[in-house]
């Protein structure tokens, strides 16, 4: 009999939980995919997704219906990753933010970084999924996450800016840098790339990342 108030209270919170599930569970594959890319480890990724969903459920009352849930929960995923073991390790290993910040102010990208000739070999490499995945793995984490959110998750610049907590201009320049880096490593991975551009890109290999 004394349990009655508790039971009633549990039922009252149930609708909110089921609304949350309707929002969150369809995004599970996307959250998991990005979590593995970031943490580079399936079991860390699973923990990351679980923790993200629990945090999101607890904070669900602060989510405003009608605003973008996907951007909201990816923001939680990203913040959870940054404070996770693998996230902290990644940040310790490479002082990326500082390194990136140097070039961030440059709105003009080196003209040579855009390959106006578009060698066929480059287009061919695009169909090589493994090569592209290797190129993505070689991206610095801030460039990788922007590519995942933009290309894979198809978030708008504005949403990416809110997920990463950076200005839209920075989102754009990071995407441009990330694509240039992808192109560079696709070409660097091609042995017969002998154009002057490829030679130049080889002289400046993309930043290595080790978690």
């Amino acid at each position: 009999m004394t349990l009655l108030p508790w039971k009633r209270a549990a039922r009252e919170t149930a609708p909110q939980a089921s609304v949350f599930e309707e929002f969150a569970l369809p995004l599970l594959p996307a959250l998991y995919n990005v979590a593995v890319w970031l943490s580079r480890n399936p079991s860390d990724a699973e923990d990351l997704v679980q923790e993200t969903c629990l945090k999101a459920l607890r904070g669900f009352s602060s989510f405003e219906l009608g605003t973008n849930f996907k951007a909201w929960i990816f923001r939680i995923l990203r913040n959870t990753y940054l404070t996770s073991r693998s996230g902290l390790a990644a940040r310790r290993t490479v002082a990326l933010e500082a390194e990136l910040a140097e070039g961030e102010g440059l709105t003009v990208y080196p003209e040579a970084a855009i390959d106006r000739q578009t060698p066929e070999v480059n287009l061919l490499r695009l169909s090589d999924r493994a090569a592209l995945q290797a190129a993505m793995e070689a991206l610095a984490p801030p460039l990788l996450e922007v590519i995942l959110l933009c290309d894979v998750e198809e978030l708008k610049y504005k949403e990416i800016a809110s997920v990463l907590d950076i200005p839209i201009g920075t989102v754009m320049s990071r995407i441009a840098r990330a694509r240039a880096a992808l192109r560079a490593s696709l070409q660097a991975a091609t042995p017969q790339a002998t154009t002057p551009l490829a030679a130049m890109l080889k002289a400046q290999p993309p930043r290595e990342f080790r978690a």
Partner: protein
């Protein structure tokens, strides 16, 4: 005027591939770009390459699928979470996988401990309208909301240290009004407030800091507007949190924090004093 035959900028090519031309480019720039694109094979080819890279990346990025049972485990976990939150378990005590039975057993055990704790009253005797179970349930809900507020990443709905900003924000949102104390000790600051619900009734959640301890004060309309003139007090301690509150004929107030009980009670006393019109002349 002459149009310089400049190639499209990398930023524009990027935005073009992402369908984001409207963010950050003027109509003139877009005009010039489309004219240039029509005439320049190199840029057309670059734009195509950019689009191909984007779609190839999108495909290559879809790389990992969750294990088949993750969805089910997560759904179970979420259901459990919403149940355990109601059972006032602290976040770091929460099970991460399914422990359905022990949780309920623990809840029952806690209930036996918690019920008498909720009964400590310093004012007048209990009345039929305020049975023990209701006080205990209220304390639980208040602690849950406080923990949820601490866990949430987002700022309060109204962020201000000024009580003259916070109080008017509730106008039209709540069917009652309240006063906020002005002469607080230096280490007690107002952080903001949320509109929330307690036991299905609208309430104001005021967020204060006492030193580094966060305090939530919930104010809602009194359940018994008339009949009782004297106010009642109650306090409880649970899961490391202290709950203190008072009831006036018009208002119910509950404060929750992990600060030491004496400071919390001192704070609620100050809050109670300004609710009586005599002590707080209309401004």
């Amino acid at each position: 005027m002459s149009q310089p035959p400049s190639h499209l900028s990398p930023a524009l090519l990027t935005a073009l591939a992402d369908g984001e031309l409207l963010s950050g480019f003027s109509a003139d720039q877009l005009d010039a770009a489309s004219q240039h694109l029509a005439a320049c094979p190199a840029c057309t080819s670059s734009a195509l390459a950019e689009a191909l890279l984007k779609s190839a990346t999108a495909k290559a990025g879809q790389r990992y699928s969750p294990p088949p049972d993750l969805r089910e485990r997560l759904a179970h976990l979420l259901a459990q979470e919403s149940a355990t939150t109601t059972l006032h378990t602290l976040p770091n005590q929460r099970p991460t996988r399914g422990f359905s039975l022990p949780v309920w057993a623990m809840a029952a055990a806690l209930l036996l401990v918690a019920l008498p704790a909720g009964l400590i009253e310093r004012g007048t005797q209990r009345t039929a309208q305020r049975p023990a179970a209701r006080t205990a349930a209220l304390a639980t809900e208040v602690i849950d909301q406080h923990i949820a507020t601490l866990a949430a990443n987002s700022p309060p709905q109204v962020v201000s240290t000024d009580r003259h900003t916070v109080k008017p924000w509730f106008q039209g949102k709540l069917p009652f009004s309240f006063n906020l104390p002005s002469d607080l000790p230096a280490d007690i600051t107002l952080d903001g407030a949320n509109l929330t619900y307690l036991d299905n009734r609208p309430a104001a959640q005021l967020l204060y800091s006492i030193g580094k301890h966060r305090v939530s004060v919930f104010l809602r309309q009194g359940a018994t507007p008339s009949g009782r003139s004297a106010s009642t007090h109650f306090s409880a301690e649970r899961s490391g949190f202290h709950v203190a509150g008072f009831t006036t004929p018009d208002l119910e107030a509950v404060a929750v924090s992990d600060v030491e009980p004496a400071r919390l009670t001192d704070f609620t006393t100050r809050l109670e004093l300004v609710q009586t019109p005599a002590a707080n002349p209309p401004q």
